[in-house]
């Protein structure tokens, strides 16, 4: 059954973490289509977030390829394989390592179809752990932000197990390159910190379903203010919204789920009802996806707004190591809360 909403009845579902949901999606798609294969570093033992755990046993080394440390090489290889009709998924240990393959993604993967006048298509999914997780500046990039401005790619940033599974299956069936960016704190794999909110673990239906790319989702209904957030920031924002609800302020929380294509309509519809907008993202404030959304809302819906658009994002510095400094830089619940309250003053 194809639906993009969690089933009401939990009887036909189980509670999973994101990594379990993703693995299930991958397994289903590999069974369904033998052109699908996965490659990456140390995926024999599950990769760094256990995404591929157990897949080698079921699908064998022909379809679960353990690669050398060679990002530009195996990204290029996957592009070539996709051009010839295979459907690769690259499991990155950390999305942070994708930059050594930047040319392959921005200049080859994103452009070959366009500059050949539509002669090739590249069905290729990148599984990219993103965001800061206590590991210092070089393992803390908000990968999605860096690629956001590049035409030719699709970018997905799921935040719940239900969305992750349904979007991942859609990404694997899409005939375009898709960057699938999951926050490192959201996988919920063994030994990893799982961000706490009521939806970090979630019900995933037993029946098959897809979540279409490019459709956002209202994660919490509200009347007073619209808050748009993705990834880890969605969970922090939901916690704030629930607390404020108890204090009498009704925050609507919109999860875009995909950054490209972006469901601007959903945000406009919400803003028309609430007249206030705050955008929360983890990456650096300069050039973030929030700046694009702010510009679009300003040009298409400014008449509905009663207050300036507010953004909450990391300041324009790399992510520092000291836990005190990391949490000062990455937007937290306190910052999100004060942004909302400040906006309500208008």
């Amino acid at each position: 059954m194809l639906t993009d909403k969690p089933r009401a009845s939990p009887s036909s579902s189980r509670e999973l973490t994101i990594v379990q949901a993703l693995r299930e999606a991958l397994r289903e798609e590999m069974r369904r289509d033998d052109q699908v294969f996965v490659l990456g570093e140390d995926i024999r033992i599950g990769g760094s977030f256990l995404f591929t755990l157990g897949l080698l046993d079921e699908f064998g080394p022909e379809r679960v390829l353990n690669t050398p440390i060679s990002e530009a090489g195996f990204v290029g290889l996957a592009i070539g394989a996709a051009i010839q009709g295979l459907r690769p998924i690259i499991d990155f240990q950390y999305g942070d390592f994708i930059f050594t393959a930047f040319d392959q993604i921005m200049q080859q993967c994103a452009k070959l179809r366009y500059m050949s006048g539509g002669q090739v298509s590249i069905p290729l999914v990148f599984q990219l752990p993103t965001g800061a997780s206590g590991r210092g500046a070089q393992h803390a990039n908000s990968v999605e932000t860096v690629f956001f401005g590049i035409p030719g790619l699709k970018i997905v940033t799921p935040a719940t197990p239900f969305d992750a599974k349904g979007l991942f299956k859609s990404a694997l069936r899409d005939n375009n390159p898709v960057l699938f960016c999951v926050h490192k704190h959201l996988y919920g794999s063994r030994g990893r910190q799982l961000a706490a909110s009521s939806i970090s673990r979630g019900h995933v239906p037993d029946d098959e379903y897809l979540v279409p790319l490019g459709k956002g989702d209202i994660k919490k209904r509200g009347a007073d203010i619209t808050l748009v957030a993705n990834g880890l920031m969605l969970h922090r924002s939901l916690n704030v919204a629930e607390a404020l609800e108890a204090e009498g302020l009704s925050v609507e929380v919109v999860d875009p789920r995909c950054l490209v294509p972006f469901d601007t309509e959903l945000v406009i519809d919400s803003v028309v009802r609430t007249s206030r907008l705050v955008i929360v993202e983890e990456g650096n404030e300069r050039g973030g996806w929030g700046s694009q959304l702010a510009a679009e809302i300003a040009s298409q819906a400014i008449g509905y707004l009663d207050a300036p658009i507010m953004r909450v994002a990391a300041p324009n510095v790399p992510v520092p190591f000291s836990p005190v400094l990391e949490s000062a830089v990455i937007p937290d619940e306190r910052q999100i809360r004060s942004a909302i309250l400040e906006l309500m003053e208008h």
Partner: protein, 337 residues
């Protein structure tokens, strides 16, 4: 191979042509002449200011690209470089579609979206050219990976220049290709220069092919201005790849008859070197061999040349008469629906 410290051409004895079918030899010659005349025409159109864009001519390197492509099957694929017109014509891209592409027309092989730096036609196995040097090497490995997975017995051939062999992605590609035993041929057009930088200023070894051993594949350096020598080397590498024995690296020594690109006089090349290499022009050398073979009459060769000239003139007429792409197409061909 002898010491090439002076990097002057060492011309091996020409092999007898008898073992080769007349059709193959004729096609070798025809494609070399086609490339030569096509490039000369393109150069002329540029100098007249009629043709837009930038341009990297493949004059002088015809024997390498033609020998290599004729050794492949029709459904084998090649990746092309920034110096790709010759590679495209050698693999069978139509001169009309190529010329129209250089003019940015709707009828171009990439509908005017690619231009000189991105020519190609998937229907003849020519992946539209990748102009970032080295980036095509892993992509060629990936196409070979798909052929191997599907057991199609197709082969991928990656063209690159000797200057490219210092790029990281090139090295990563050769490692993966050898590691996974992929049916891919790495074909180096060693014309001694990457723009103005001589090979001796870019690597501490004499030959690119020496690097093959480091990855666990066979490597060879051959004279690239004799299409028969290139044909034989590529044929055996492709046969080997088809048989499941993995990739090979072939380095073809050749020379640019001109600058790196249209506005480069190439004055950084020593006169002695230029003169020695210009004497090795592959086209007259091959024509003389054909004329010494009873199967080819001088008049037939002349007819062939005349037909090529007519085809090139026709391609210019075709390109000039073709429509420019619709402005709206600038927003098309980005995503598959």
């Amino acid at each position: 191979m002898q010491e090439l410290s002076i990097r002057l051409p060492q011309i091996p004895d020409a092999a007898p042509l008898e073992p080769y079918e007349a059709d193959l030899l004729r096609e070798m010659y025809r494609r070399m002449v086609l490339i030569r005349q096509f490039e000369l025409k393109v150069n002329e159109l540029f100098l007249q200011g009629i043709m837009p864009g930038t341009i990297h001519l493949s004059l002088g390197q015809e024997a390498t690209v033609v020998g290599a492509c004729l050794a492949l099957d029709a459904d084998d694929v090649i990746t092309l470089t920034h110096r790709g017109h010759g590679q495209a014509l050698a693999k069978g891209v139509s001169a009309d579609a190529l010329m129209a592409e250089l003019f940015g027309k709707e009828t171009g092989c990439c509908r005017g979206k690619g231009g000189s730096l991105h020519v190609g036609d998937m229907s003849v196995g020519a992946l539209p050219a990748i102009a970032i040097v080295g980036a095509s090497s892993p992509i060629a490995a990936g196409m070979a990976f798909a052929f191997k997975r599907r057991q199609t017995s197709q082969v991928a051939l990656n063209f690159f220049g000797e200057g490219t062999a210092n790029k990281g992605d090139w090295h990563e590609a050769l490692n993966l290709a050898a590691l996974w035993n992929l049916p891919v041929v790495y074909l180096c057009e060693n014309n001694l220069y990457g723009v103005s930088t001589h090979i001796t200023e870019a690597m501490a070894i004499d030959y690119v092919s020496e690097r093959a051993a480091a990855y666990g594949m066979p490597g060879s350096t051959i004279y690239g201005n004799d299409p028969i020598i290139v044909y034989e080397a590529v044929k055996s590498a492709a046969d080997r790849a088809r048989a499941g024995d993995g990739p090979a690296l072939i380095e073809c020594l050749t020379y640019r008859r001109g600058g790196h690109k249209r506005d480069d006089p190439g004055t950084y090349r020593p006169q002695e070197e230029v003169e020695a290499w210009f004497k090795t022009d592959p086209i007259p050398a091959f024509r003389d061999r054909l004329l010494r073979d009873d199967r080819f009459a001088a008049s037939a060769i002349e007819d062939l040349q005349a037909a090529v000239m007519a085809a090139i003139d026709a391609s210019v007429d075709y390109a000039l008469a073709s429509e420019a792409p619709a402005i709206t197409s600038a927003l098309e061909h980005l995503y598959v629906d």
